[in-house]
Symmetry: C2
Subunit: 322 residues, 2 copies
């Protein structure tokens, strides 16, 4: 993973500087909220993917930052609104923004970051970029809504679950990849290859996230252990466990998740069963399939530095522990 690390180390400072400068220009009421969420140790995967695909398709100019960072701002806007609506207490190990700054500041900071992201994409005067960004914003908003609907009426249906993780995570990562290709003026086929890489990578990314939720101590992920279960969220480790158990047990669990009546003891029991059945590891195995799918989309793109880094990024998504 040497190339990946080197590439990120080389490019991240300029991306972080750009994000900082844009956030500095926001109104005082929301500026600190924006800086809080942007400074909370995000991996900058979205802007890096935009940059990597732009260069993979031959983009030689140095004005990619607004486009690349737009995706990070959009992602951050979503986190602000989601954490508030979920009453989340932690984000990447720090207090969630709404607890530090209040609901008004947090909601408005989300609105401002979304607006700024959109404006940054429009700076290029490129209709394809504006369209991709508009679609990405639309799909992400729909994904947020579907996730909340699902959490109110959870099911153990895999297809529904896949739809949720595509909407909440994978579409925006697809968008980041497509925007890079479009910035470089790639052909529709090339853009589709970039988009397919991103979609599959995004699915794998979220599957690993859902696996980590059951497998990692808080100190690594910055989120409470088993947090998804405690919040009543149905993810793949739980679906796998229920698929192998009896139907009555599954139905009782769904009911308990729906009305929030799961006791601490039941919670601990389920966490133990997930560990014993290695359902977190099996979720990673599913993710491995999507990582391979993602990498296969790079086959026609040569062997340049960016393509190497994109392959390593896919492997990194699978092996990450936080």
């Amino acid at each position: 993973m040497d190339e990946l690390l080197r590439y990120f180390q080389r490019e991240l400072p300029a991306i972080n500087d750009f994000l900082d400068k844009e956030a500095d220009q926001l109104n005082g009421l929301v500026r600190d909220v924006a800086k809080h969420i942007l400074g909370s140790g995000g991996k900058r995967i979205r802007p890096m993917l935009t940059l990597l695909f732009a260069r993979a398709f031959g983009y030689a100019k140095d004005d990619h930052h607004a486009m690349a960072c737009a995706l990070e701002l959009l992602h951050s806007a979503t986190l602000l609104h989601d954490d508030y609506l979920d009453d989340a207490e932690l984000r990447r190990g720090r207090d969630a923004a709404h607890l530090v700054f209040g609901r008004t500041e947090t909601i408005l900071a989300g609105d401002a970051l979304l607006a700024l992201a959109n404006e940054m994409g429009a700076r290029y005067g490129n209709p394809r970029l504006s369209w991709l960004l508009a679609k990405g914003i639309m799909e992400t908003a729909a994904g947020e809504i579907e996730e909340i609907e699902f959490s109110r009426n959870p099911s153990l249906d895999r297809e529904t679950y896949m739809g949720i993780i595509i909407g909440k995570t994978a579409r925006l990562i697809e968008c980041a990849c497509r925007c890079g290709a479009a910035l470089a003026g790639a052909t529709p086929e090339q853009e589709d290859a970039a988009g397919d890489y991103g979609l599959n990578l995004g699915i794998a990314f979220q599957l690993v996230d859902d696996a980590l939720d059951y497998a990692s101590p808080t100190s690594e992920t910055g989120k409470p252990e088993g947090g998804d279960l405690k919040e009543g969220k149905v993810t793949l480790p739980l679906i796998l466990l229920m698929e192998e158990g009896d139907e009555a047990g599954a139905e009782a669990l769904l009911e308990a998740l729906k009305d929030g009546s799961l006791s601490d003891g039941q919670c601990a029991d389920i966490l133990e069963q997930v560990r014993e059945g290695r359902y977190s590891e099996r979720t990673r195995e599913e993710a491995a399939f999507y990582v391979e799918e993602a990498k296969s989309r790079l086959d026609g793109l040569g062997t340049g530095e960016e393509v190497t880094v994109l392959r390593q990024a896919a492997d990194f998504v699978l092996t990450r522990t936080k």
Copy 2:
């Protein structure tokens, strides 16, 4: 105002149909919220302005609805978030959306409407439209933030007040007018004339709104009488009253507004003083200046039906009673 009425009667059904169809396609969790705010008797001024300027500059195609309605959706998105953050109870005489549907549905419906508005503007593949819309969204988000900041730290400074009403209202109306011109492929000078008309009209519109707040019974405006004062909002009628009173009284009032300690008796007393001093009427007189400014921007645009309607629309803004 015959031409204005006829024009609105002719065009509004198609605009309302379009808004309905777009709202119908939203996810179930937010669809009813969108339909609630869109069906609450908005005047559709923004879409009508887009349409009027498009046609005034010779646009002959019939695909203006997405662009025109994008502005209405954007406006509605703002209302949803604002009413929630203001804890507003009424909107156009009906219960505010967050009281009917809950905070999650309302915040997410705002996000979804904003995303949809943006996507509708991007459908044209016209970089100027995307840029104008992105700027309009950005300015509106900033305007919301500035207004809330101002309400927390109110002042009797007219310049600050004008900045607030430009940000919260006039910029989006300017955007609607510019988008109409840009849709028709107008020259930059023509677009500026449309934008100046909109900016001045928007200022007048908000001044009249602020005048009505002190002058109209709830049954006409659908908002509680003197609601701005009760919410601690400083608007022009109050500024005019304070400018003519003593400084100590003004400072005491500002303090009371800031810490929310204005008693019902003090409130009633101020409402009475505003009535006696005719400060609401004098606010309308200020609005009349901006209406004339707006109309003057139409001078080079000929005498077609749309220009007649635009003149009448400016007069209507001034004379409206709700």
